[in-house]
Amino acid sequence: MTEPVLEVAGLSVIFGNREPAVAGVSFAVEPGERVGLIGESGSGKSVTALAVMGLLPEQARTSGVVWLAGQPVLDRPDAELAALRGNRVSMIFQEPMTALDPTMKVGRQVAEVIGLHRRVARGQTRARVLEILDAVGLSGPARVANSYPHQLSGGQRQRVVVAMALVNTPDLVICDEPTTALDVTVQATVLSLLDSSLAEAGAGCLFISHDLAVVAQLCTRILVMLDGKIVEDAPLAQILAEPKHPYTRGLVATARIDQVPVGERLPTVADFWSRDGDVEEELR
């Protein structure tokens, strides 16, 4: 059996004197596998992603093991990790406007990702940039390459970010709420783009979201995160058919409001699960 592209074992992350943001998390992503990591705001899903990329702030204390593309990540010097990021592993963030440099033309930003990791003749870089922009469904790739981010729509910007994430054909793409800032229609096109691009590149994916319905469009396995722990890890079909943890049952119910008859009260997570004795938390 081939080794997983990502292996996390007993990962904990602590900031200051607070409760651990991530508390003993273990999972793996096999080559080409798409895993969804879902949970509410503050459950620790983004911190997990940052830990995997070695992007945690310095004051974070970590323990456990993270293997990425066969190499350990935790406590590695940044220079060594930089060779990995954008090459074997790439990341797509929530807000495309902050992920792009507003003062640099889009084509140069994509070319930079290539140039950082590959020795390519100058003329070939340009060709590769136009090719990947075309592949992510941007019409008129030459015009887009010559545009600044603010001249593009939100959907176009997110396509550029997807292009940058995929241009070096990584083994793993980590997506942190990549469609949350987008309209439903743009979200639908970006999701289908991710679906086809990941399939074409044969890349695995760790897809982070609070929205089970979104995750279900792409992923085949789901990790449910709650208070820094993974409380359920199962194939999507099983999560939907027989969710085990009461919190997961709540998530499935709240993601299905299109099936609730009009006029009926919508199910909430609190109907299924609540933090013991903590009334305020139930209001979340």
Binding site: E40, A188, I257, T268
Partner: protein
């Protein structure tokens, strides 16, 4: 039925000359007393422009907007007290719509201290009593007033924004994407709360969203906006079941759904 709002041939243009952008294009719309109207469309379709005009936060380039039959478009702010009391808004993101430096109690009672509203018939005079009342209505603990917005979760902050909107006893509530910045798991709680409040207090609701599945649970009528025009309108149940316009269909199909339980 009497109309709360009427918008007649309303256009809103931005910029001038060759760079003119059409925000709204000759819109005609009436919102009746007690109805729940959903306004649906993509970013840039003009939904926020429309409710800003209804709420008197912006002026139309052409056409007129009336509230209770009285003209509001083009009138100076000091003449709009009746509108400010009658209509309150809840915005999309409670992180930016609540002042982080103010205590929640001061945030919620701020409309009661406004010179435009203070002393108007129907506006509560006892601020402490009204604060306790609205906190209870939105399901927040009674001691919330002493705390600051950052001490609350996203869903709780949207409850604070709702409490502030309810404080001056408005008859109309305008909600601009009030659940799209919230976790899906919190979304249904806020929708349930809105449903209860609108029913209990006989409010007229104008609810803006890009998500028709959410509108379906809150609104009996819906208007679909595209590029500044209303392209489809009708009963929500009918539009949801059989959308006539391809644009409405594409909005509906774009909503991510879980596979059917088998």
């Amino acid at each position: 039925m009497t109309s709360v709002f009427t918008a007649t041939s309303v256009s809103r243009l931005y910029g001038a000359g060759r760079n003119t952008v059409v925000g709204l294009d000759e819109i005609n719309l009436a919102v009746e007393t007690g109805e729940r109207l959903g306004v649906v469309g993509e970013s840039g379709s003009g939904k926020s422009t429309l409710i800003r005009l209804l709420a008197g936060l912006d002026r139309p380039t052409r056409g007129e907007v009336r509230f209770d039959g009285e003209l509001i478009s083009g009138r100076p702010e000091h003449q709009l007290g009746f509108l400010r009391q009658g209509v309150q808004i809840v915005f999309q993101d409670p992180r930016s719509s609540l002042n982080p430096r103010m205590r929640v109690g001061d945030i919620i009672t701020e409309p009661l201290r406004s010179p435009l509203l203070r002393g108007r018939p129907g506006v509560p005079v006892d601020k402490a009593a009204r604060l306790a009342e609205v906190l209870e209505q939105v399901g927040l603990p009674t001691d919330s007033g002493r705390r600051h917005p950052h001490e609350f979760s996203g869903g709780q902050r949207q409850r604070i924004a709702l409490a502030r909107a309810l404080a001056p006893r408005p008859r109309v509530l305008i909600a601009d994407e009030p659940v799209s910045a919230l976790d899906v798991s919190v979304r249904s709680q806020v929708i349930n709360l809105l449903n209860d409040l609108v029913a209990e207090q006989d409010l007229t609701l104008v609810f803006v969203s890009h998500d028709l599945t959410v509108v379906r649970h809150l609104c009996d009528r819906v208007a679909v906006l595209q590029s500044g025009r209303i392209v489809e309108r009708g009963l929500t149940a009918e539009v949801y079941a059989e959308p006539q316009e391809p644009y409405t269909q594409s909005l509906l199909e774009a909503v991510p759904r879980l596979p059917d339980p088998s």
